[in-house]
């Protein structure tokens, strides 16, 4: 894992430790940190469904908006009130998971290179989600709405785009009318539709995007929000009165933190902060770091049969099929879209031509990583295997983004690290076990459900279980293959598991 500075390294270690705790509590399948984006979308749906319900009772008008909200909050507390609270709290939860999602991807460095698109298209989503949330607060037309509406107008008035200050309209009741509420409610319906569109764009370049959290986790979150809604129902803060300046307010700090800042600073610096931060987020993928992008995958047409397995396994839709151009008797050929390729090498592991056996045409795969061609990989593996001594000889296949494998290397342990473990073709496992070159194969990589490149661990497990092409052949002894997924924070556990595996191999040999 390329870590560019000590702070990033500290944040990275802390995050992995915290996620390790969550893995023990929830299991890797249900770890909320492994599906923050999907959780965000789940909360978005909770907000939408609850919003549709309460919108049915909402009335647009200076004198009726507040009372209509009060009606379903108190007179219909058992449904309308709970829906309002769910609407409020799910919106807050959406901001929390959105911020955690952003921080996590940043700390783990999953925003550089070809991943810029997903990162970049997430930035407008931040703006839109805040806009929808703030706009929703105006609809209630209580003192908080009065404060945030007028403060927003004052903030926007700073921009030299309005001929007259908009704040002036809110000095007295005569300044504006019921149309304001129609506009606000129209906007509150429209922005979420735009959000939905941007979510689609956000995940456009991902294969198999996770858009739903696991059912048990979703139910747990929904139950937590429901309990919270019953314990602390969302309430209004007294009707707005343009003759009285709101004094002490219960602020929703998830959405409205900018307003106290406007009081402390002034509109100009707050604009500078907001725009500056947004621009920084936008350019972050291109800020130079020690992270080196390795060359992207390349197709060797002479070894490509157009089988589409690389297309099926690429987590970023970076391989597409196009009509054959070399006259060979195949319909299609694989083509790498360089802009989308993250250089994970998963396509190499998926290619049936990635084999250490075929020497007639040379060791050439249909799709190759220029930094580690299949021939070079085979040569390195053969060298590593040749130096092994003693019993319980094991080869460890791992990845560059998980636990460091160097400390595992020894007389009886060979180590090979790949950009992603899923770059490992199943045939190489068979090859290592053939003629007892090693007695066992130990496979490791990023923690389960947390592949640095997405999907890697899942594809490896499915290939080994013969559920995904290219499968590990049935005749391969599964007892001699062990998998243990370990991040850089799990190096000790990895060493222990490897030793356990070697002990089991010794016992196996003695039988």
């Amino acid at each position: 894992m390329a870590i560019s500075n000590p702070t990033e390294s500290f944040a990275h270690r802390t995050l992995l430790r915290f996620e390790g705790i969550l893995n023990r509590i929830f299991g890797n399948d249900l770890n909320p940190f492994y599906c923050l984006g999907a959780l965000g979308l789940f909360f978005f749906w909770v907000v939408t469904v609850s919003g549709v319900y309460i919108y049915a009772f909402y009335k647009t008008g200076m004198d009726v908006s507040y009372s209509s909200v009060e009606y379903y909050t108190h007179e219909q507390w058992y449904l309308g009130g709970i829906m309002r609270s769910l609407h409020r709290y799910a919106s807050g939860a959406l901001v929390v998971v959105m911020v955690l999602h952003l921080l996590r991807e940043f700390i783990l460095g999953r925003y550089r290179g070809a991943r810029w698109f997903t990162w970049f298209t997430g930035v407008p989503l931040i703006w839109l989600i805040f806009a929808a949330g703030i706009n929703g607060y105006w609809m209630v037309w209580d003192t908080l709405a009065q404060y945030t509406t007028i403060a927003s107008m004052e903030w926007f008035d700073w921009l030299p785009i309005f001929p007259e200050p908009m704040s002036g309209y809110f000095v007295s009741r005569e300044g504006f009318n019921d149309r304001f509420f129609s506009l606000v409610s129209f906007t509150h319906v429209t922005i979420p539709l735009v959000i939905l569109f941007f979510i689609w764009v956000h995940i456009l370049r991902l294969s198999y995007p996770v858009v739903n959290p696991k059912r048990r986790l979703a139910l747990g979150m929904l139950l937590a929000l429901l309990i919270l809604s019953l314990l602390k129902p969302a309430l209004s803060q007294g009707p707005a009165d343009l003759g009285i300046e709101p004094s002490r307010l219960g602020i929703d700090w998830f959405y409205l933190f900018i307003y106290p800042l406007l009081d402390v600073w002034s509109p100009g610096p707050v604009w500078a902060l907001v725009i500056g931060f947004s621009l920084l987020l936008c350019v972050l993928p291109w800020i130079p770091s020690r992270h080196k992008q390795i060359p992207v995958a390349e197709v060797n047409l002479e070894a490509c049969s157009g089988c589409r397995l690389c297309v099926a396994d690429c987590p970023y839709e970076a391989v597409v099929m196009k009509p054959r151009t070399d006259g060979m008797n195949f319909l299609e050929e694989a083509v790498v879209v360089a802009d989308r390729c993250v250089s994970c090498g998963i396509c190499v592991g998926a290619c049936p031509s990635s084999t250490p056996y075929r020497s007639k045409t040379g060791y050439v795969s249909g799709i190759e990583m220029p930094s580690l061609p299949i021939s070079g990989f085979r040569t390195t593996m053969v060298k590593e295997l040749a130096r092994l001594q003693g019993n319980a000889r094991v080869i460890v296949f791992g990845c560059d983004h998980a636990a460091n494998l160097d400390n595992l290397r020894g007389d009886g342990v060979a180590v090979l690290s790949l950009p992603c473990t899923a770059m490992l073709p199943s045939s190489f496992i068979e090859y290592a076990l053939r003629e007892s070159q090693v007695e066992g194969v130990f496979i490791t990589g990023c923690r389960e459900n947390d592949c640095y490149y997405r999907m890697g661990g899942q594809w490896v497990e499915q290939r080994l279980a013969a559920k995904r092409e290219p499968r590990l052949r049935r005749r391969t002894e599964r007892d001699r293959i062990e998998q243990f997924w370990a991040s850089s924070a799990d190096s000790k556990e990895l060493a222990v598991e490897l030793e356990k595996f070697r002990t089991s191999l010794r016992e196996f040999n003695q039988r």
Binding site: L22, R24, I25, F26, G27, P32, R88, Y89, G92, A93, V96, Y147, E154, D157, P163, E164, P165, S167, G168, V171, S172, G220, M221, L223, A224, L225, I227, L228, L231, K232, A234, D241, L242, G243, I244, E245, P246, S247, R248, L249, G250, I251, D252, W253, F254, Y259, P260, D263
Partner: protein
């Protein structure tokens, strides 16, 4: 980790989640205006007089115009004078603003919007406005009023109704 411990851990996680979401949805509370303060809002839009004098078009100028444009022989400059505003509170000058007319030709209204928090109590407010070229203010209004805590006093200006209007109808 054993199953019961996992359930306890999950319960704690969800409790923490509820606690964070529930607490920060309304707390800690924020004091926007101190309890002993009142707010003066200065908000109006007013067009200053045009700069320079109107004049009659000469016969040559009229001859150059299309026939249908020759009726209005008077030409006035578009540009308006800056509107100058001053506010005194208890005899001390609080604000002096020169408001430029809006628009590319400076032919629009001059606008102002200000929030002025002051200590509640009895105050004398004096507002002055000048909307033409030359010396001296042509509008002035002074009023002593009780400004109640948390209330909003609006200083408006409408030349059609005689000038300044101090709205303090919510005073207690």
């Amino acid at each position: 980790m054993t199953k019961p411990l996992q359930y306890v851990g999950q319960g704690l996680f969800y409790a923490l989640f509820m606690g964070v979401i529930g607490y920060f949805a309304t707390s800690p509370s924020y004091t926007h205006l101190q309890p002993d303060e009142t707010l003066i809002k200065l908000s109006f839009s007013h067009a200053g007089h045009t700069k320079g004098e109107c004049r009659e078009r000469s016969a040559e100028e009229l001859a150059k115009l299309p026939a249908y444009q020759r009726k209005g022989g008077t030409v006035c400059p578009r540009e308006r004078a800056d509107v100058v505003f001053e506010l005194e509170i208890d005899g001390k000058q609080f604000d002096h603003v020169v408001m430029k007319p809006a628009g590319l030709s400076h032919s629009g209204n001059s606008n102002i919007y200000r929030r002025i928090p002051v200590k509640a109590g009895v105050h004398t407010l004096k507002a002055r406005l000048k909307d033409r070229e030359g010396e001296g203010f042509n509008y002035e209004h002074e009023e002593t009023m009780t400004l109640a805590p948390g209330r909003i006093v609006v200083i408006d200006f409408k030349s059609a109704t005689g000038g300044f209007i101090f709205k303090n109808k919510n005073a207690t």
